[in-house]
């Protein structure tokens, strides 16, 4: 019971962390159709900015300043890079951001070195918030939960309540009609990508939950894409739900020590390591937990190509 409860909390925190990362990608990838492979790299850049700025002005100002810096870089990439390649189609965009990701990763390695940097949490947040069955719930994780929740609200409000959000949503499905109504469609998409600036707040706040190091983009990049595609393109709610599902799946996969052999045993088939496919069938779930999101990605693309709540095709 206590494991279940603590795992639920763990899953929630991890899911919300994924959402924090994926929300930015949802806006640019699933709302605007820009395949941005450099997303995780910019996220990493944000974490390093936050670390550097926090050393000079303290943690809280850095939490505001780092996203601004990161946003400025995002805007530059958009204005001088993406806007040019956008007209050449998705493949050009994909390749452009793919290359950019490598450049940023290498740049970070050269600027900050290969070692993890000591990005520490302020004392207020560096303590247990509450204790549940003897396990500390770190105050910082609570803080992260709060930030993600705020981000979800902010993005949702922007998309549904502001003029810009409505234009973007309309332009997704009926670009010609929106253009005919007098809105400047090409101009509104870059504006949107600059409006997606709540998302760099995530590296600032997650950089010290995870360890700030040059491989963080590499480890977080793929999973964020999985979340967005699984949730369905063009759907913020889908992205949110997918994040939580991935968080829970990965958390519970670790906790449940079962294998396919255990499942087969329930229906009366006994499998040992010696039987045919025994090696595969007896692999316990925790060992393949980290692969489950990708399995789910493959399955959903096969059986429900639009994702959970997608409004358009991949």
């Amino acid at each position: 019971m206590e494991v279940l409860l603590v795992s639920l909390l763990n899953g929630l925190v991890y899911g919300m962390l994924l959402f924090m990362l994926a929300s930015g990608l949802t806006l640019i990838f699933s709302m605007m159709g820009v395949l941005n492979f450099a997303h995780a790299s910019v996220y990493m850049l944000g974490a390093y900015f936050a670390y550097d700025v926090s050393r000079h002005v303290g943690f809280w100002p850095a939490l505001v300043l780092a996203p601004v810096l990161c946003g400025a870089i995002g805007a530059l990439i958009e204005m001088y890079g993406l806007r040019r390649v956008h007209k050449n189609g998705h493949i050009a965009e994909l390749l452009f951001t793919f290359g950019l990701a490598f450049i940023i990763d290498k740049g970070v390695q050269m600027a900050w070195g290969l070692l993890p940097v000591a990005y520490r949490v302020p004392a207020v947040l560096d303590r247990p918030l509450f204790t549940i069955y003897g396990t500390n719930f770190h105050a910082y994780r609570g803080f992260m939960l709060l930030i993600s929740a705020l981000m979800f609200c902010a993005i949702w409000l922007m998309l549904t309540r502001t003029r810009l959000g409505l234009v973007i949503q309309a332009a997704l499905t009926h670009p010609e009609m929106v253009g005919a109504l007098g809105h400047n469609v090409p101009a509104s998409s870059p504006r949107c990508s600059r409006a997606d600036r709540p998302s760099p707040a995530s590296p600032a706040s997650s950089g010290n939950y995870l360890v700030t190091e040059p491989s963080m983009a590499f480890t977080m990049g793929p999973i964020v894409f999985v979340v967005v595609v699984f949730g369905g393109l063009g759907s913020l709610a889908g992205c949110f739900i997918a994040s939580l599902i991935m968080g829970f799946v990965q958390t519970f996969a670790v906790v449940f020590d079962v294998s396919l052999a255990n499942v087969l045993a329930l229906v009366g088939i006994k499998v040992t390591e010696a039987s045919p496919f025994g090696e595969v069938l007896t692999i316990p779930l925790p060992r393949i937990g980290a692969l489950l999101p990708y399995v789910m990605l493959v399955l959903i693309l096969l059986f429900k190509p639009r994702g959970l709540m997608g409004t358009r095709d991949t």
Partner: protein, 415 residues
Amino acid sequence: MSSRLMWSAVAFALTLGLTSGVDLARAQGTIKIAYTDPLSGPFAQVGDQNLQQFKYIIDWINGRGGALGRKFELVAFDNKSQPSDALLALKSATDQNMPIIMQCSGSNIAAALIEAVDKHNERNPDNRIVYVNCGAVATELTNEKCSYWHFRMDAHVGMKAETMVRALPKDVTKVYLLNQDYLFGQSVQRDVKAFITKLRPDVKVVGDELIPLGKVKDFSPYTTKIKASGAQALLTGNWGPDMTLLIKAGMDSGLDVRYYTMYAHLGGGATAIGPGGNGKVRSVMPFHENIAVETGKTDTEGWTKQFRTTHNFDFYAAGFRTIFEFIQAAMNKAKSSDPAKFAQALEGLTITDMLGHQVTMRKDDHQILSEYFVGVFTKGVKYDSEGTGLGWKTEVTVPAKDLDQPNTCKMKRPA
């Protein structure tokens, strides 16, 4: 010197060189040593730190005459943690007649290298190469997979596991194992369990976990599971992000266990543990800077201190210096940088390392026998790690003779 005189000197030197045939390329210039490890990708920090320490050591040993009156030169090849890239590095090294290839991270890569070096040396008896293993520690490599051309210069998993199990205090009776799911991690898992059965039958393994290598981002589910298991100690061979993230998650959730690791003393470990980990984390290690202080080796202390002033991390690779002292001694003894000759000289060689201990390259299986330590990460030491204010303090010192474990190697020596 007039130019004519110089030219005749060169001509004379050339004639001398030609008489010794293939040795020509090797007899001149620096002694080139190929080094391959991940220098990009998720484990790049490991390779990069090794490289910086190797450079520091090579400068030092070249200052003391190198070997055969020639200087050592390190040529680095990025293998991106891929065996196939390591084999490409081997190809480049043999194409350039380098006498030695070194590799430290990844037992799967080491296994591939051993096989390839064996094949190469068999087919090219006039251009052989020695594989110096500076840290791939799966026990198999000097047992079932042992090779004459492979010299392992780090304690293997069996030795580290025994040290770890011996260091468990009497009141610890429940342990949790967590390791990476590949050759090395499985080796740790198997050996630790074997030594627990043999040395500490009272200890119960309450959890035994393998995680995918470099894939887990959030270790809190694991800390929950470890807590629920009631374990008093966590035994892990994890390295790189798999180690730092695990310890960080454990610290944040207030998991109250003793951590026994094999690599927490490497770069990034101290930062991940943080000040909150005072007295909780132990590492099975060949060296830490405070050993020199504890044993009063002031020259060694000064030498590592100088590294500290010019680099942004701590010196941990005492074993690397031993490697070069071994190579230097073997080449000088054989009076040659020809692999066939100095490999023979290296077998069974004993030298004194920088801490004053006798270190032997065991002849049977080419496994180094050196002293080993268990350090605890704590306050109040002379040299702290990565600016945390905490550093390593020796808790247990294991002499080399206690680690002289039997081996199953049936070595095929060249005729």
